[in-house]
């Protein structure tokens, strides 16, 4: 059988958001995968330049609905660094708690989707039912289920009182029990094992070379977690383990996420016990002094980077976001090579893609016909020549 090209997306039942892949198939085996991105480009970065820093917090939150706590925490930290202020300790703890609740919610959502991609609808329904408990807790703290609007520059907006804390402890112990139960199912069920073990292999050296982030890289045995490497919020005071599995397959990535849920539950319980009292926010000036700052957090999907530059005004001069899904796309294409058609949805789901967050940058297609290797100097020379030949396009 000759090579057969099959398109996947932009609309496909396995994809929750638009992306397009063209797979070259030899029978049922994938020989090559070409991604095409940019279907949900929203111009968020440009929009951020037209609004004030305070308004941008809400804009950042809307980049992604699933990891909204990660985006605001990251942006707010960058602005706080520019302002040279430190939020009160209690605010840091509340940030951490909401952040980790957000992670639990995101990982449970993902686990349900993975079950759905495998055709295991029963598990999908059960997990999403239990996920509602986390959303209830988040709603109780912040008033919202999805866009929490808890972070603000200089602190947080809502406090956690004893009533909420008691409710939260109850929900968390329920969730711990359920998560352990689901872990047992994932480890023991023969059909899940058949679909996840030794599927979508990402070797450790490939994970490092292709700059994969988050649970994707931790499933390949790389101990890389921003929470441990570059602690933010109250993470330097809350103990936790970085979960690493080294079987390099979909099963490893699944177990990493399940164990992270359990870790997050312990972290939140510890944070509730050791929360300092005091204010939850400080007053900050509206004008941000000139300068630039980079902030990193470990979003549920991996490392999230914000770069913020201010020219000394109410509005930022430039905001740049690098979301974890984008960092994982090259690794995803590597995983797909040599896979079966039937494994495509499971492998694509295994990096937990969040495409709407990703589509901001402009991508340049490199012709696949020619293969060449450039050293750094050649690349630099090429770029200088490129800019010189185009008068109008000049780097500022």
């Amino acid at each position: 059988m000759s090579l057969f090209e099959i398109p996947l997306g932009p609309q496909h039942p396995a994809l929750k958001e638009p992306i397009r892949f063209i797979f070259k198939l030899d029978g049922e085996i994938v020989v090559g995968a070409e991604p095409r991105l940019g279907y949900v480009h929203r111009g968020v970065e440009k929009l951020a330049e037209t609004r004030t820093f305070i308004q941008d917090v809400y804009l950042a939150e809307r980049i992604c609905g699933i990891c909204s706590a990660a985006h605001t925490t990251c942006f707010v930290q960058a602005v706080e660094e520019l302002l040279g202020i430190e939020p009160p300790p209690r605010a840091k703890y509340i940030r951490l708690i909401v952040f980790e609740l957000n992670r639990i919610q995101s990982h449970l959502l993902w686990l349900g989707i993975l079950a759905y991609e495998m055709g295991f609808d029963t598990l999908f329904m059960y997990i999403w039912r239990d996920r509602e408990r986390v959303l209830d807790v988040l709603e109780m703290i912040t008033g919202n289920r999805v866009l929490y609007a808890i972070n603000q520059i200089g602190g947080v907006r809502h406090d956690i009182d004893d009533k909420i804390a008691a409710y939260m402890r109850k929900a968390l112990s329920y969730l711990r029990e359920r998560t352990k139960y689901y872990k047992g199912i994932v480890e023991r069920d023969p059909t899940i094992n058949a679909r996840a073990v030794e599927v979508g292999i990402l070797k450790k050296r490939d994970a490092i070379a292709l700059c994969a982030v988050g649970p994707t890289t931790r499933g390949s045995g790389v101990k890389f977690d921003i929470r441990a490497d570059d602690p933010y919020a109250a993470l330097d005071e809350v103990p936790f383990n970085v979960v690493v599995y080294d079987t390099e397959d979909v099963m490893a990535r699944t177990l990493v996420r399940i164990d992270e849920i359990l870790e997050s539950i312990s972290m939140i319980e510890y944070a509730l016990d050791h929360m300092p009292s005091g204010d939850i926010r400080v007053r900050v000036p509206r004008v941000v002094p000139a300068g630039e700052a980079v902030s990193r957090v470990e979003a549920p999907r991996g490392e999230l980077v914000y770069y913020v530059r201010s020219a000394g005004g109410e509005k930022p001069e430039r905001v740049k976001v690098r979301t974890p899904t984008l960092a994982n796309i090259p690794a995803l294409c590597k995983m797909l090579e040599g896979a079966y058609v039937a494994d495509i949805p499971v492998i694509v789901a295994s990096i937990d893609p969040c495409l709407a967050c990703m589509d901001r940058a402009i991508f340049v297609d490199v012709s696949k016909e020619k293969v060449w290797v450039w050293s750094e100097r050649e690349l630099r020379r090429y770029s200088l020549r490129w800019y010189r030949s185009r008068e109008g396009v000049r780097r500022r």
Binding site: F4, I6, P7, H12, P13, A14, E28, A115, Y116, E117, M118, G119, F120, D121, T122, L123, F124, M125, Y126, R129, D189, T191, I192, A194, R195, Y340, V341, A342, D343, I344, P345
Partner: protein, 322 residues
């Protein structure tokens, strides 16, 4: 024959227990399947149309009939349009061979020595026409789904037919109605051939394209598989055909292993329906409890485990006659 007898034949073929009875009951069984499946997943399931939503499958069928009839360009027109009609015809024909116990009669509408072979042949043809539908649609997903349907067929049909052959060997007859009758006087074959029953239900799961063997129409992988390009009336016909196929396969299992319509007080339709419902709930339970296998894993399950086990069942039936 008198006019009354002619009329009776007409009633039997068209109304009860013929075409209309089968169609209505199949749609009700679709509701049973959906409702049980939903309850197992902690959902409510259909509940809007009719009491407890039991008219939902009828509403779905009528809705699909009223949709625009689309024939995409480049398809093989005749095969594409005829395959749903022929599939529906074949499953209905297969249902005539099943002894239902209607009118307290022990025999099916169409009962003759060898109808067992016809029934098994019809199940093969039904799968082949789903292949035709996928192949003629010239859609990439359709073609892959059609190929998968055939790959899968060459595995599950063998184990299914071998299990059925073991029953035929034991009962010394090739008539489905006789097979049920033989069991009425002795033990049911679910007790005599427990291994055969398990493998038969497993193969049935694949025959019906249900999880864990729903690879030909795996929606998260290849959109709708061989059904991708099928819409409107054609989809309505295929869905009805698959409902009747579920009913047919469950009644085949009932006939072969659960003594068909026979109960303590002679043949009766109520016995038959109770047993069929039991088999359908069994199928639904299995469907809710597993994830989907990959096509190579499906073949491995059948060639490595199911077919050897069914051969063992045949040997047992050969050497230990009851």
């Amino acid at each position: 024959m008198s006019v009354l007898e002619y009329l009776m034949v007409l009633v039997k073929t068209l109304i009860y227990p013929g075409v209309i009875f089968v169609i209505i009951l199949s749609l009700i069984y679709e509701w049973v399947d959906r409702k049980v499946y939903a309850r197992m997943q902690n959902r409510i399931g259909p509940f809007y149309v009719g009491p407890s939503g039991f008219l939902q499958p009828f509403a779905d069928f009528l809705k699909l009939l009223s949709k625009e009839d689309i024939v995409p360009p480049h398809v093989d027109y005749h095969v594409f349009t005829l395959s749903p009609i022929i599939t529906l015809y074949l499953v209905l024909l297969a249902m005539f061979l099943i002894p239902t116990g209607a009118w307290n009669e022990p025999y099916a509408i169409l009962a003759f020595e060898g109808d067992y072979i016809l029934a098994l042949a019809l199940t093969t043809f039904i799968t082949i026409f789903s292949f035709f539908a996928g192949w003629s649609s010239v859609n990439r997903f359709g073609v892959i789904g059609a190929m998968r349907a055939l790959y899968q067929m060459i595995s599950y049909e063998i184990s299914m037919f071998l299990c059925a052959a073991a029953v035929a060997l034991d009962t010394r007859t090739l008539c489905l109605s006789r097979m049920a009758e033989v069991q009425a006087s002795g033990l049911w074959y679910i007790l005599l051939h427990p291994l055969g029953f398990v493998v038969f239900i497993l193969s049935m799961q694949a025959e019906l394209d249900k999880v864990p063997f729903d690879t030909p129409e795996a929606k998260t992988e290849i959109v709708g598989g061989w059904l991708t390009e099928i819409s409107g009336k054609k989809l309505a016909f295929f869905r009805l055909a698959s409902d009747i196929k579920l009913f047919f396969c469950a009644s085949l299992a009932t006939t072969l292993y659960l003594a068909g319509p026979w109960g303590p007080l002679g043949p009766n339709i109520l016995w038959f329906l109770a047993k069929v419902t039991f088999v359908i709930i069994l199928v639904t339970t299995l469907r809710a409890a597993f994830a989907r296998f990959r096509i190579d894993q499906v073949l491995a399950v059948f060639w490595k485990y199911a077919i050897p086990l069914s051969l063992v069942q045949v040997l047992i039936a050969l050497f230990i006659p009851h």
